[in-house]
């Protein structure tokens, strides 16, 4: 992976900008999070800061798997794997997932131990609309990695 060879360090300002690069907003009213405003870029940055503080974030090491198009925002599969030997001295401590346009950008936190053997997870999440998903991985040596990926959400506005 090219990413791995040349780590890039994101600064807070860049994260804000990143979080702001919105995919086209799908016009749809859906029963998922009705009446709630979407999280803005600042809210995502705040949510990330709450988890990892002011540590710099590098790119790479995270493989994030998401459908290109999700048929229904209620159940969007998400999988990730972190490149790590998962030994007592070198392992992934935690992975945080954020959805930048959900009313609350926090999705979930996963805490690993060397006993996991590999830092790989699959689960399912709710997305109110098309948006970027951000994964942040905290390593045992204190370093932090980040990646993001866009998901398009097609919403069933019909078909009771």
């Amino acid at each position: 992976m090219a990413d791995k060879l040349k780590p890039h360090t994101y600064k807070r300002r860049e994260v804000l900008a990143l979080a702001g690069t919105g995919v086209v907003v799908v016009v749809a009213g859906i029963g998922l999070f009705p009446g709630a405003a979407s999280a803005d870029a600042a809210a995502v940055a705040k949510a990330i800061k709450k988890r990892i503080g002011d540590k710099p974030m590098k790119s790479g090491r995270i493989t994030l798997e998401l459908p290109e198009i999700a048929e229904n925002g209620n159940t969007v599969p998400i999988g990730f794997e972190i490149d790590s030997p998962m030994t007592d001295n070198d392992y992934v401590k935690a992975v945080h997932i954020f959805a930048e346009k959900n009313p609350n950008p926090d999705v979930a936190t996963f805490r690993f131990t060397p006993g996991n053997g590999k830092a790989k997870v699959s689960t399912r999440m709710r997305l109110i609309k098309s948006q970027n998903i951000i994964a942040v991985a905290e390593m045992s040596d204190g370093s932090v990695y980040m990646t993001k990926k866009a998901v398009k959400v097609t919403i069933g506005g019909c078909g009771g």
Binding site: I69, E71, N74, T75, T154, G156, G157, C158, G160
Partner: protein, 272 residues
């Protein structure tokens, strides 16, 4: 290719419109090998789903509907009612005794003098054979037991009978299917016969097959019966839905099942 539909102008005014699917994911899917999910011209809803939705159905463990199937299995073995019996007391192992049963329903019931679907048969068994209370339509229990029984016929071809005493009810169901209704003045056939593969709002239309029911719908975030689906399809053309278990819907169920005669039972399927 897009087929024209009468009255589509009126529909567009109501923000319902079909669009051709050329260039969408569907066009690519046309070349796909659908395996058991396609029998001749017939295609199950599975073939219209995204790879992610299909993957949830493909693995019995990842399919959340099995949480309900577990409820059904527990009920199958649970003694209830004054007779002190469970389904298993008489039918023993469901994988043998119920194999093929779900693929034949709905059936004509002599005693009732009309059609009966699987949910209704299960409740009849509870009342008559167990002297237990019937289960509520759309409850976790009835959905679970219906899915459990129908899952015993998984992959068997739908094989309903439309002759003999079932014939007049089949005719009623067929009439219902082609009858325009609701403010949008549309029949089931307008969407599921004339236009599978087309888009309606954000939905990709399928042939509207029933072989996967009861099924887990991502939209509902839980399983639902075929009658829940019928009600939804009635409501979306702004027609008044019938109640769960209504004769009209049981007759319709037979016609819809017959349209998919030969398709494999997928219960419990997963749809968007």
């Amino acid at each position: 290719m897009r087929k024209s539909i009468q009255g589509i102008g009126a529909l567009a005014a109501l923000a319902v419109a079909f669009s051709a699917f050329a260039g969408t994911a569907f066009a690519g899917k046309d070349k796909m090998n659908f395996g058991k999910y396609q029998v001749g011209e017939l295609r199950t809803g599975y073939t219209f789903s995204t790879p992610e939705t299909r993957a949830i159905q493909d693995d019995d463990f990842e399919n959340p509907a099995f949480l309900w199937v577990d409820v059904g299995e527990a009920l199958w073995n649970k003694k209830e009612g004054k007779a002190g019996k469970s389904c298993a007391s008489c039918h023993k192992n469901a994988s043998a005794s119920m194999r093929g049963v779900g693929a034949r329903y709905p059936v004509f019931n002599k005693k009732l003098g009309k059609l009966q679907n699987l949910e209704q048969r299960i409740n009849q068994e509870r009342v008559e054979k167990m002297q237990a209370k019937p289960l509520k339509y759309e409850s976790k229990e009835l959905l679970g037991l219906t899915m459990f029984v129908r899952n015993q016929s998984k992959d068997m071809p739908i094989n309903v009978s439309i002759d003999g005493p079932a014939a007049p009810f089949f005719e009623k169901g067929k009439k219902f299917y082609f009858q325009r209704r609701g403010q949008l003045d549309m029949a089931c056939a307008n969407c599921h016969v004339d236009n599978p593969g087309g888009m309606i709002r954000a939905n990709l239309l399928s042939q509207g097959q029933s072989n996967g029911f009861p099924l887990y719908r991502l939209k509902w975030q839980k399983p639902g019966s075929l009658h829940r689906r019928f009600r939804g399809c009635n409501k979306q053309v702004r027609a008044k839905p019938y109640s769960y278990g209504a004769d009209e819907y049981v007759n319709l169920e037979l016609y819809v099942a017959w349209r998919g005669q030969g398709l494999p039972v997928e219960t419990p399927a997963v749809r968007m």
